[in-house]
């Protein structure tokens, strides 16, 4: 969502900086500043402008969320709120409306993310570190699974869950039966996430030293033990990658949720967000505060697993 927008465009521009200029870093800062060429100035100007361009909507949104309705109409969107027009009321109000959806989203995202990552990891281990006939075909099926668009499965998906009749299956326990929609969504997202998780885990597992796994076999460890005692403990960084990826994907999904969730009490945050849209008057401060509240958990996940994420992306074992 909006969270990763500002960082992404800045990095490629950075890489494109003239490689000859980086040599200047071994001299003093003063020396460097003195003979900064016009090219360098232009480069920084462009970078700053790009940064500002991408950050402006975020900044406007954040400031708008702290303005009263009057202040919003009387100021430009990216100006800070006037003293008498500053308020946190939109945040409280938005949180009030979204809290149920936030809880439901967590109930959905945490198990779906964990299940898809764990199953992806297991599948990748079986496809990468264990030899068996026909594994290439199975791998290709997984890779194909990555490319199935959400829209293509909507109809089969709803028909499938109608046929399954999860409500009846879960009828033995009332609290669970009332959550049947959410359970269906958890399973759907978990299943949909397995291919991409498998591919991510596979690329990581193919870098694991084969001799080490052979040593473990000679040490008497079974395939399951090798997974539990060697592969899994070494998978930290790639788990961070898939957890962040899956968390963001599932948290931000609206399409599956719209199709599969029928009862209002199971609504997730992306659906609840729509409730902040006024019918007559648009309350932009409320909508902005709601958008930030809805996006916050994905940001937090990046912060929490950021270091391991970087390791996982760099492919360190």
């Amino acid at each position: 969502m909006a969270t990763d927008a500002p960082a992404a465009p800045a990095e490629p521009s950075d890489d494109q900086a003239d490689p000859t200029e980086t040599r200047e870093s071994d001299r003093g800062l003063g020396d460097q500043l003195r003979d900064v060429g016009p090219g360098r100035v232009a480069l920084y100007a462009v970078l700053l402008a790009l940064g500002a361009f991408y950050l402006a909507p975020l900044e406007s949104g954040l400031l708008t969320a702290f303005k009263t309705q009057e202040a919003f109409f009387s100021t430009t969107p990216f100006a800070p709120p006037p003293i008498d027009g500053t308020t946190v009321a939109p945040w409280l109000s938005a949180f009030d409306t979204l809290s149920g959806g936030l809880v439901n989203s967590f109930i959905l995202v945490v198990p779906a993310t964990l299940i898809s990552a764990l199953l992806g990891s297991l599948a990748a281990y079986g496809l990468t570190n264990i030899d068996w006939r026909g594994q290439l075909v199975v791998l290709l099926l997984f890779v194909a699974g990555v490319f199935i668009p959400y829209q293509a499965v909507l109809v089969p998906l709803t028909r499938f869950w109608t046929m399954v009749g999860l409500n009846d299956l879960l009828a033995f326990w009332e609290p669970l039966a009332s959550r049947a929609d959410l359970v269906a969504l958890i399973i759907t997202h978990a299943a949909y996430g397995i291919p991409i998780c498998t591919v991510l885990f596979r690329s990581f597992y193919s870098t694991i030293d084969g001799e080490m796994l052979e040593a473990a076999r000679l040490d008497g460890a079974s395939a399951a033990t090798i997974y539990r005692r060697i592969i899994l403990p070494l998978s930290g960084p790639i788990f961070a990658v898939t957890l962040i990826y899956q968390f963001t994907q599932i948290w931000n999904d609206l399409l599956f949720a719209l199709v599969l969730l029928s009862s209002p009490e199971n609504q997730v945050v992306t659906i609840a967000l729509n409730k902040l849209k006024g019918s007559m008057v648009q309350q932009y401060n409320l909508q902005m505060a709601g958008a930030f509240i809805a996006a916050l958990p994905t940001l937090l996940v990046y912060v929490l697993f950021g270091e391991q994420f970087a390791e996982g992306v760099a492919g360190e074992t």
């Binding site: 001799e211 080490m212 473990a216 000679l218 040490d219 008497g220 460890a221 060697i230």
Partner: protein, 379 residues
């Protein structure tokens, strides 16, 4: 402890329908407690052979027996074999202690205390007690090597398999570990199969060495036998540093005639040559002598091409004529001054020559060992 037998072992790999023979009908008997070195150039099938013994590769044909039991279809874990890998293959997320415990935890029902005691004792024997709490990443190459050994030793297996375990160490450490490994193996008295491409390791470490080339077993012998009585030209050229000198010769009457020189041979040598028309004459560098004047019919006028001073000896590259490309090596005393460009008379004594069949490479005659007994008394 048990004897290990490879009985007509063959390994075929399938390469898109083509069969590639990696190991071709190899039979070796390794006695209980013996140290066998499998040696050969890269790609000769020595590692594949080792992996078949370990159970990491299937056996296409033949049998491998350990203590009389066929182990062809036993999974690696049930073979009671421990292996030391070239990359050490330590578990990076475990401490040294956990690395060494792992095998015992997985393959035995030993009590925790017993495992701990075994690990501590082994660590002490290898001098790595102080590192038990550290991770492999924090250790030097030599220390990691010891941990890898320790991991194999704690298992107290029937057979040790070692796949070029010293090749990642620097030269000095390698020489030290070579001696230490030998001492360890003698103390433990465990049957060991050691794979290397380094003929020095093969010569110095093995009770017996098995030389492989292109998947085929060339010779199984003690190191000195392989050195002095090679079974064929390949073994003669592979074992020994610098390599044996070879000359392609034609048999003409009682002389062997080559491009650069002709070599008169005695009656008994001619008998060994038999019907062969073309032979390869081989002589070890240390058997070529530089003499003052031509007094023997086996003395040849040469020119010194290059001198490699090694300190203890000089490796002198000699050419029969000044502008000749082909050279052969003589190892002479390090104190003797030899300079490039100077003329020299090389003596190739008949009792020191090896003769191989020009077509098949099979040995027709090895050097006389009467001479050997005098100069290199065996213990």
């Amino acid at each position: 402890m048990s004897a290990l037998t490879l009985d007509h072992v063959t390994k075929l790999f399938d390469d898109d329908g083509d069969e590639i023979v990696a190991v071709d009908d190899v039979s070796i008997d390794i006695a209980d407690g013996e140290f066998l070195v499998l040696v050969g150039p890269s790609g000769c099938g020595k590692s594949t052979t080792l992996r078949m013994i370990a159970g990491l590769e299937s056996i296409s044909r033949g049998e491998i027996r350990l203590g009389g039991t066929v182990i062809n279809d036993k999974p690696p874990a049930d073979r009671d074999i421990a292996m030391v890998f070239q990359s050490y293959a330590l578990y990076p997320h475990m401490t040294v202690r956990e690395n060494m415990r792992f095998g015992l935890e997985e393959s035995t029902d030993m009590a925790d205390d017993d495992i701990e005691r075994t690990v501590t004792d082994t660590a002490e024997m290898l001098g790595i007690s102080s590192m038990l709490g550290r991770k492999p990443k924090e250790l030097s190459g030599g220390q990691q090597q010891r941990v890898a050994l320790g991991r194999a030793i704690v298992r107290d297996p029937e057979v040790f398999l070692m796949d070029e375990p010293l090749s990642n160490l620097d030269a000095k450490l390698r020489a030290e570990m070579r001696t230490e490994l030998q001492r360890l193996q003698e103390d433990l008295d465990t049957t060991t199969v050691y794979v290397t491409h380094d003929q020095t390791e093969a010569m110095t470490m093995g009770d017996k060495i098995a030389i492989l080339n292109d998947g085929r077993l060339q010779q199984v012998a003690t190191p000195l036998e392989a050195y002095h009585e090679p079974a064929n030209r390949f073994v003669a050229g592979f074992i020994g540093e610098p390599s044996m000198n070879f000359f392609e010769m034609e048999v003409q009457g009682d002389r062997l005639v080559g491009e650069e020189f002709s070599y008169p041979v005695s009656e008994s040598t001619l008998e060994n040559v038999g019907d062969a028309e073309r032979v390869t004459l081989g002589v070890r560098p240390e058997d070529v002598r530089l003499v003052g004047e031509k007094t023997d019919e086996h003395d040849f006028q040469t020119t010194v091409d290059v001198v490699e001073p090694m300190g203890r000896e000089n490796n002198v590259y000699l050419a029969f004529t000044a502008d000749s490309e082909a050279t052969f090596v003589a190892s002479v005393d390090g104190m003797r001054s030899v300079e490039a460009g100077q003329p020299a008379i090389a003596r190739i004594p008949e009792e020191a020559i090896h003769l191989f069949d020009g077509d098949t490479g099979v040995t027709l005659q090895n050097r006389s060992l009467e001479d050997l007994e005098q100069t290199e008394p065996r213990i």
